[in-house]
Each structure stands twice: as C-alpha cells, then as structure tokens.
Subunit: 686 residues, 2 copies
C-alpha cells in the first residue's frame, strides 16, 4: 500500500533545487482539440473496462465527465505527479466519488504511481483502486469521497486553508480548488451549508463544475429535483456559468473566466449526458451503478472509434501527449520551487516550517494554563483558557464554532475572525454543523493547519458523516463538544446528550476524551494535538467542576493512558469507573463510604477508552483489578461499559432521554449526587 | 402529565354533534389593531416573566415574534383548543424551538389546558412547559423542536400528509401549516433540503414566516450569513414576500396573500428586531439565551405600558378577547364537523376509519408473502415483497427513499408516485436523507398515515437528528436501512456500516431489528406496524440469504421476543448469539461442529435487543443460559454485546472500517464464512 507522508503537516517542499525555466508560465498548454478528443475517448474506454473487469462500479459518471476531466488534467490544473504533496498544487476533488474510475484513469494517464495493473484491480481486496476514492491510500487522491456532498464541503475547507496560507506567505500560494459534483451532491444539505459559507467568505479560489446530467438513481431529476440550481448559487453570492459539458472550448473558457473572478466562488453548470459515448446507454439511469456489459462496451468502443480488440488499451499517442503535458507542468513546478526558495527564507522560512512540522508539545506545555486546586471551573471554560495559549503559540492553529462560540468558550480575544468575506483564524460557521465538520476535514486534508470545531455535544448528530470520514481518513480533526450530558439542565432532552458518548466511542479510530476537571482538559488537548493519525473528540461540561487536588494522587498527565487510579486505599472493596463530571462525585462518595462505612473504594478516572485499550494487558489488569465489585458512574447510557466492568456491575448511568429542569433537580432525579451514589453503593455492598 | 391520544392514528373526530352555526366561515375575525397591540404587549410581558421566573431560557425570540404570533393565533389560524386532535386544524410549528415561552404564552391565552401556574413552572422538573417544546407532552404542541431546522422540515411532512389526505377525502381537509423559523433554521442544511422538496411538490398549504432578526448567538448574521434568502427560496420555487414583522397589517395581508398561492409554498420574510419592546436589549444577541433580569424587565414593561407591579399579569381584557376569538373559531370548527358528517359517510367513512385506526395485524398477516424454504433472497428483496402487500392492504401506507429505491427495493408497481409537483404514496426524496427523516417525522406528527423511509444503512448518519427526535417524541417512523454491513462489498468502507448497529441500539426508545432471513423480515415489518409508541429501524442485507427451513425449529414469529433459539441440541456446549446475515452461517457452523467434532452448539437468532430486553428474566435466562461459553457473530462492532455474552465471550465481529472487495473476499478476510467460524470455535473449545 502506498505510504504517504502525514497530510496535516505534509512538508510540501522537497527542498531540492530543480532546473527551472524562467519563461512566463503558460496556463494554456498546447494540447489540441483533436488530442483532447483522443484523450476523452481513451478515458471513456478505460473507465468502461475498469468497471467491467471489476464487474462492479459506476460507468455513467466517468463517461459523462470524460470531456471535462480531459480539459482539467491537461490544460487547467497545475500539479506534479511525482510530488503529490506539493503545497501549491491545484487540488482536485471528486465529490461524486462513485465516479472513481474516471479519477483513477486520469491519475494513471497523468503519471501518478498508478499502473494499468492497478486499474485492473479496481475494487479488489488491498488494491490501490478501491470502490470510492480513499485519502492516504491512492497517490493523487486528495479526499475520501462517496457519501454525497462531503467532497463539495471539503473543498470549501481547502479554499479556506489556501486563503489563510496565502495570507501568511503571500503569492507563493496561489492555486485553485477544483471539484466535480453531481446532482446528488447538489441535493445534499451539507452542500447548501458549505456553499453559503463559501459565498459569504468570497472564496474566489474555488472552481466547481456541476455535472448536471439530470439523472439520478431513481430516474430523471424531474422526480425530485426541479429547483433552479444556478439561481440558488447566485443567492449564495457565487459566480455562475452554464455550459455544454461536452464542448472542450466552453469547458476551458468557462474555467479561465472563473479564475478571473477573485471575490466569488464559481459554479460552472455543465450540461452533460450520463454515459456519453456509450452505444445504447446515453442518458439512462441504468448506466449509473452497474457495468455496461461486454456487448455494450464493444459497441460503444466502435462508436467512439477505439480499438475494440483488447481492453485496457491506451494508445501510445495518449501517453505521449501526457508526457508533454507533464513536462510543461514540471516547468511551472520548478519555477515555483525557485520562487519559493527566493521568497521563503530566514524568518519566513522558520514560520513556514512551524506550519509544516508538528508542534513541540513539551515546549507548548510550559505555556498552558495552570488551574488553582480546589477552585471550580467548567471544563468548557478550562478549554477556553487552553485555546488562548494555542492560538498564541501555534500560528497555524485555527477553528471555530457553529454559532455557539460564547457557549463553547471558543472565542479568543485579539485573534483574527472570519466574517464579511474575510477568512480569519477564528471561523464563524453559522448554524451549520454538518458543513463545519466537512470543512474542517477539508482543512485537515489540505495540510499545514491544526484545526478544531465546536458545538454542543448533542449536535454532533448533525455532523456525524464528517466525523466518520475524518476517522476513516486518519485526519487530525479536533472536535470540542460542550454541554456534554443531562447536566445541560433546563434546555431539556432535545439538548441533553445521553447516547452520544457511546455512539462516539463506536466509531473506529476516533479518540473520545471526557476530562474530569480543568487539568485533564489540558491533557485532553495535548493528546489531541499529539495525535497525527486520526481525530479526537473532547467532551466538556457546561457546569462548574472542582479542580481536583492532585496531592497524593496521580497526575492528570496519566490521561494519556486512558484510565488511571485517582483515589485508592491499600486494598479496596470496590472499584468505581467514572468519567468527566462524575469523577469528583465518585471521589466524594468514596470518601464518605470509607469514613462512614469503612468501605474502601478505588476510583478510576477513565477519560478515554481508546487510549486505555492501547495499554498493556498488565496495566489494564492493575487498574481494573480482577473479580472486583465494580460500579460505573457516567451520565450517559451504559452501553459498552460491560467490557470493562463486566455485565454484573452496578451501572449508575442514564438509559433514557433527559429532562428539562435545573441542574440540581436533574442530578437528584438521575441519582448523580454524592448522597445518592453513597446510598446506592451502601445498598449494593450490603 | 397530560395524556394524549396516539398521534399517528389520532381519531381527530370526536364523534359528538355540536351546535353549529351555518354562517359563512369568517377568516378575518374582528380583532382590532388596538387589541392586537394589547395582546402582543401581554405576550411580551408574559414571555419575559416566564424566562425570568425559570432563571433560564430565551426571551429574545418571543419578544421579536410577539406581533406575528398575536396575528396568527387570533386572525389567521383555525384551531379548537378543546380538541387538540381535530384533523383539520391549522398546524403551527415553532421551528425556532428555543422561543418556547412565546408558544406557551399563546397556548395559554388561546385556551389550551395550560394554566398560568404551568407557565410559572417553565423548565422545571415534570412541568408541562419544558425548555423546548415536546410533542405529546404539552397540549397544543404539534412537534418537538429545538435542534434547528427540524421543525421547518417537519412542516413539509405535514404538508405532504395534508395533501395526501385531501386527495383521498376532498375539501374536508383544507388547512394550512404555519411555522416560525429563525436565522438559525435558515442556515441548517436540513432546511435547504426540505425547502427544495416542498417547492418541487408545489406545497401551497405551507406558509412559513421567517423571523429575520439578523442576530445569532455569536452576533450579527454578517459574521456568517450574507446569502439572499429570498432569492434562494425563489430558486426552490417558493412564493416569497418580505414584510415588517412588527406591522400587524403587513403580517395579516402577507399571510392572506400566501393562502391564495396554491401551487407554491410561501415564505414570508419578516424583518424583526430581536427582543423588540425591551428597554435596552433590542437588537442585541445578549437577549437570545438568558433572562433579561428584573431591572430590565421592569423598564421594558414601563416602556410597553404594562403593569409593572406584578409578574404574570394578564389583563382581563386579553382573556376576554381570546374568549371572543375562541367562540369565533368554535363556529368554524362546528361547521367543519357538520360538513364532515355530511360528506364522510358510508364507504368513505369506512375508509376514513381505516386511516385513523390501527391496522388489524392478524388480518394483514394473511396477505403477507410466503417464501420458499431453502430458496435464497436478500432481506431487502423480501422487504420489497412485504411492501407490495402493505401498499395494497393499507391505503394510508406511504413512504419513499432518498434516491435509492431500486437498491432498497422500495418501489412498488401501480402505486401513485410523487414527482413534478404531485404528491403520491411513493415519495421521491432525492438525495436528501436529512430532510427525509424529518419530513417522515412530520407525517407521523400529523397522524393518519403509517410511513417509512429508506436508504443505505451507512447513510443513517445523515438523518440521525431526525431518528433521535422520532424516538424522543414516540413517533411511529419506520426506517428501512439496506446494505447493512461489510457485505456491501466493492463500494468499500465509505459505504459499509460497521458501527451503525451499535449506534442505532444506543438511541433510547428505538427498536432496531436485523432479520436473519425473509421470514424474519416479514415479522420485522409486523413488529414495526404494531408499535405505536416509537420508531423502528429495520436493517436489511444487500446479499442473498437462505430462507431458513423452520421444520423442527422455532417460528420466525418468535422475532417478537427479540431473541430465540433457532438451532439446538438436548444439551449444549456452546451458545452462539447472532443476527441477520450471520445467522445462517452460525447454523451452518453449528451443524459442522456437531457432525465433525461432536460439539453441540445452540444458536440464538437475536434480531432485536430492545424486544429481548422486555422479556421476563426467566425467558432471558432460558435463552442465554448461564455460565456458558458464548460466541457472538455479527458483522459489526462488538460494542454492547458484552451485556448478553459477558466480557469474556468470543466476538466474531468487525471492529475496524471495512474494505473494498468482492463479497466472498470480504467474508473470508473478516472471518464470516462457515469454515472460518468453524475453525475459530474449534480452537476456542480446545
């Protein structure tokens, strides 16, 4: 499997000095219309063959978009297929990810490390060419797409990152973000949210081509989709053009026009025919998701004028054109390297490196806030203090909230803010959680930044598709979710997460951390910053919590082990496993149990299952003990805790929806007071 | 607590014969402008007091929308506060659910069973006035709102239901659906999706008022929201007006105008001032989510000309106006009852009753498909066969897919379909899962219909906010999720659910059923139809599965118990717990284990945890046994299974993301073949 450098902080600059050509960069490389025709025909044949060989896949979109792709990869985009992490490359996103055969065909022809053999292994176990594009898996694939609308929103994140980076380093960063999105992408709400943000921020570096073939899986878009997409995007302040998606000149001209529009994102509505070029399937929804069949492919190749004898037949002339294209693009690349070396040096180079290397955590630690033992502070507020340091110490630290910054404590003074067409390091996402998550992923795909988002924990539901993709793609997206339990109080069950800890822990490769106090909050942030192969979710309290006095106790640094003993006796009669706002209650109950009943209770602060699972078996056994009476105390559903506590443990949990009431009444009702816990355990031990 | 009749099939018609007045119904009841002013002032004072007394809540929106609400409840909407389930009542949805103090104030004044004392218990444990409106909890509350955008989309579902009902029963159904939505609702993607569908279906019965106060929690909408909302809604084919939201005449006139537009939903953009009428907080985001404070309230009441001495002071004159209003509305109601009795009789009455009573499940059972033992059929296809019966036998059965009907097998021939401005019993949602879920809830809130939605299981993530609200509100929404595991195959990890069973089971009050074959699929549908207090999720295979020969085995009807023994010996050495497509593999392995190794394996088909949990302790013990060696076999994460199997069981599960590969290779890779299971268990038993 291809091994990529870490995306979030990919170095981008190989550091080598290339021979370069100081001529004016030519955007319009000399690929003729006849050559484009030949390329598009080859791409169509290849795409049909790829899907047929796999006996599975989506040929309709690749055939419909072959003309657009041929123009993009030859005459428009700047890239170097031998340096896939070049910072100033144009990004291409296949938002309609099911059209992966098109993307793989283009990457192969353009010289990426993707052979014909790889194409022949489309959708096979372990191949470089999975059913939908996967980031970090295939050279040249910029984003994991497939769930519709995600790629669209990822591109907005990339455009924000590009904008910020060029703000920091000037015109050394001046590329575009291209995407092809289909009717399905246009219907998804995440697209609407992201488009509105992009228009608001005047992201002129976005150039999206809408493959408007008016066909969806159920049939014509007349069935469900009659809105005026162009007008809709104009309402978002986008620049909108409409073209014939099979006319090379119109494709090229419209993109060049879009490049000139600096204060608006561009949507090019390309009228296309799905399965264009096939013998009998043009315009049919049946071409969407199944191989065309040998017979149809033969007839289609005849119609296209391709060789019909063999499959995977790429004419030498096509390779030769792409070799020419590659050489031309290499000149642009070399010229950029020269420019980079002349412009980015000394202090600017140091700053650049600080963007593209991982932060020094131990150095950072010295600047992080220290909290007074015994004082009370909500973990969301403690996180807010941490953010002040991070924004100050890490110039590439950015993030924002879905219109809940005052509540999530993610506003930091004197940091540039987004708004009114300006991109700042504090982003205002508006009430758009779904796009926030996907934009955040786009920033992480882009590299160079560490970024977080913030909202109420219960609204994670709105952004779940993005969180899953971050985990799947190994992105360092950081999620701040506050108001983390029934202790939200009066806002009631619609706003009180109860199942959300469980459903977060369920996602593979997602670290879920619920700190018990301000000190653990600092450590949660450190764990999130130090993680480079996946996302971290930090779950924070609305209510004040005591800063636990660590005298004679383990340091909060033990959070890195996922679970550790925070209160104990020489021997113990009982083990409490607890997280977040319930840890101090557990300690309080333990003290009373000993004082009043002589019951010796070990309390384990258990902020992160995933980190705990990575510890040695002996460590885990040491912490959990064996054959213990165990009590789990967490203000959420009990699901999954049986793994650590056994199915016969006592669960002081919330296995129903919450209630609208003041915090104290809620605590009493659900049994989360020292008194109630004490009574429950005394009864249990009797 | 107020106990409502079941919503999905609420009778609607009390059956009593009222005295009625045959005069022409007067839409414009004689409430004067001065009276409106008095009402609005009272509502403002009341809302401030409600929030202040609770010391928690959102005063800004109620003050900003008091004028709109005053017009709606007096001069526009038809309702009978003494018959909250009247079928032809106008529906009102507070999409901006945080403004609940406004809704409760209006309901109190309009004569609903909501006393001043109830208002004083705002946001207190067990009160009728929780922080956000909760369906089935407070008389007159039509939907549970709070998570933004949900109410907006719910209304589209209601409009679809109204449209279908009037299609069936003529002009006896001719009401409107009103909503107030705020800037936050307008930003949410679910709103965009629902608005596009509503425009497509030309839902002229929808009249939405957009409370455009240009203020969000983080500050001015300039921070994140500069799109042209009116133009956007025009692009969706809505009728758009813009008014001064504090001008009674403009409010009324624009609504009357909107009523006349029959082929488009209406958006009335009401320019408002948040916290309008307050002394110093007008236009400030600080009025959004916190009490104004005694001092500000006193000053505001002075400014408004209210009595300042006491709180919760409703002038007798206001009650008297509403009494008049009530009498007027009663005439409309009575007249409708008369019309109903004269129009809906004989066969039409029988049909009506079939909409508003629960279906006779046993009768239905006789019509359901029977599958040949030993034949192979995917459970999604078996579900498709069930749907044919349901559409035929239940005239009020409706549903649709998010552009995946051919894959989810939810298209049924000869049933009216939606499309091109026509509402049919098969809905085409387009690629809009989020709105699909919320629209579906709207249909369920409305009553009279049984409705389902369908998409791939992995895309449940897109509609999770709606699923949660269905569970919280006790709605009979039915979800068909196909392509339920890694056996999706070539489409790869973006399309393969692995954590989705766990994260579905985590939601309280949601029944999650994963049938093992066609017969269990029939029973899953029956369980979903029979359930009247919450949603059911039916999880179905893409791949073919054998129809298990039940000779000598328990009937599939035992699905109703959640888990039952499907394969056993006189005694057993081992228990396998399994669901869905893994059950036949488990039986296959059990047979080999006995034949080749003499190991006696009990296999438990375990399609639904929630149903199993409701069985007696002795039944559960009988099925699971005690002290057994247990193996869990399910193609998803193991999380939560420890509850039934113990933490030391063997878990043949999928605890990572899936792979893109053909089904057989996937099965082998993850160990889901009879061979691999056999080997694993032999090793375990050794």
């Amino acid at each position: 499997m291809y091994n990529f450098s870490k995306p979030a902080l990919s170095p981008g600059v190989p550091g080598l000095s290339f021979n370069f050509n100081n001529e004016k960069m030519e955007k319009n490389m000399p690929v003729t219309s006849d050559e484009l025709k030949l390329i598009a025909r080859t791409v169509r044949a290849l795409s049909m063959d790829i899907v047929q060989k796999a006996n599975s896949g989506h040929p309709g979109m690749p055939l419909g978009c072959a003309d657009i792709a041929s123009v993009l990869w030859t005459k428009i985009m700047n890239y170097n297929s031998e340096d896939t992490s070049w910072v100033n490359r144009d990004r291409f996103i296949l938002s309609a990810g099911h059209g992966s055969a098109l993307l793989y065909s283009m990457l192969h022809l353009s010289g990426y490390s993707l052979t014909l053999d790889d194409l022949k292994k489309f959708r096979q176990m372990g191949s470089l060419t999975p059913g939908h594009p996967e980031f970090r898996h295939t050279p040249g694939v910029e984003t994991t797409t497939g769930p519709l609308g995600q790629g669209f929103a990822n591109g907005v994140g990339m455009a924000i990152a590009e904008n910020l980076l060029s703000g920091e380093f000037g015109d050394i960063i001046d590329h575009y973000i291209y995407a092809i999105a289909g009717d399905g992408c246009m219907m998804e709400g995440v697209t609407s949210e992201a488009a509105s943000i992009a228009g608001h921020l005047k992201l002129g570096n976005l150039i999206y081509i809408y493959d408007s073939n008016r066909i969806t899986i159920e049939g014509s878009t007349d069935l469900a989709f009659s809105e005026n997409v162009g007008k809709r995007f104009e309402s978002y302040n986008w620049h909108v053009q409409e073209i014939d998606g099979h006319n090379f000149a119109e494709i090229e001209t419209s993109i060049l026009e879009a490049q000139k529009v600096k204060d608006k994102p561009s949507l090019i509505i390309a009228r296309t025919v799905i399965a264009k070029g096939s013998a009998c399937m043009e315009g049919s929804e049946e071409s969407h998701g199944a191989p065309l069949g040998e017979k149809e492919i033969k007839a289609s190749k005849e119609k296209l004028g391709c060789s019909c004898e063999t499959s995977f037949d790429v004419p030498e002339e096509v390779y030769s054109i792409f070799k020419r294209v590659k050489n031309e693009k290499k000149k642009v690349y070399d010229s950029w390297q020269m420019k980079f070396n002349s412009k980015i040096k000394n202090e600017l180079k140091e700053k650049w490196d600080s963007f593209f290397t991982r932060p020094d955590i131990e150095k950072l630690r010295n600047h992080l806030p220290v909290f007074e033992k015994g004082s009370k502070i909500a973990t969301r507020a403690a996180s807010g203090k941490v953010l002040e340091t991070l924004y100050k110490e890490l110039p590439n630290f950015i993030g924002g909230s879905a219109d809940l910054a005052p509540s999530t404590k993610t506003m930091v003074k004197n940091i540039s803010e987004s708004g009114n067409g300006k991109v700042g390091r504090i982003l205002h996402y508006g009430v758009r959680e779904n796009a926030m998550g996907s934009i955040q992923n786009g920033i992480a795909y882009y590299g160079g930044f560490i970024n977080f988002s913030a909202t109420f924990f219960v609204f994670m539901d709105y952004m779940r598709p993005a969180v899953r993709l971050a985990a799947l793609s190994g992105l360092q997206s950081i999620y701040i979710y506050t108001h983390d339990s029934i202790f939200v109080g009066e806002d009631g069950p619609t706003h009180q997460p109860v199942e959300h800890l469980a459903v977060s822990r369920a996602i593979p490769n997602l670290n879920v951390i619920r700190p018990c106090d301000a000190d653990e909050t600092v450590e949660a942030w450190i764990a999130a910053l130090a993680r480079d192969n996946g996302p971290t979710l930090i779950v924070l309290s609305r209510q004040n919590l005591p800063v636990i006095d660590r005298t004679g106790r383990a340091s909060a640094k033990d959070l890195v082990k996922g679970g550790y003993i925070i209160h104990d006796y020489d021997t113990h009669d009982l083990v409490i496993l607890s997280t977040g706002s319930e840890v101090h209650l557990s300690i309080g109950a333990a003290v009373r149990l000993f004082t009043e009943k002589g019951i010796r209770t070990r309390v384990v602060s258990f902020p992160c299952w995933e980190l705990f699972d990575k510890q040695s078996e002996s460590y885990k056994k040491d912490i959990l003990g064996t054959g213990n009476k165990t009590v789990v105390i967490e203000a959420g559903i009990k699901m999954g805790w049986e793994k650590y506590a056994g199915e016969n443990a006592v669960f002081i949990t919330v296995d129903e929806f919450g209630k609208s009431a003041p915090e104290a009444d809620i605590a009493d009702y659900f049994g989360f007071t020292i008194n109630k816990i004490f009574e429950r355990i005394v009864k249990y031990m009797a």
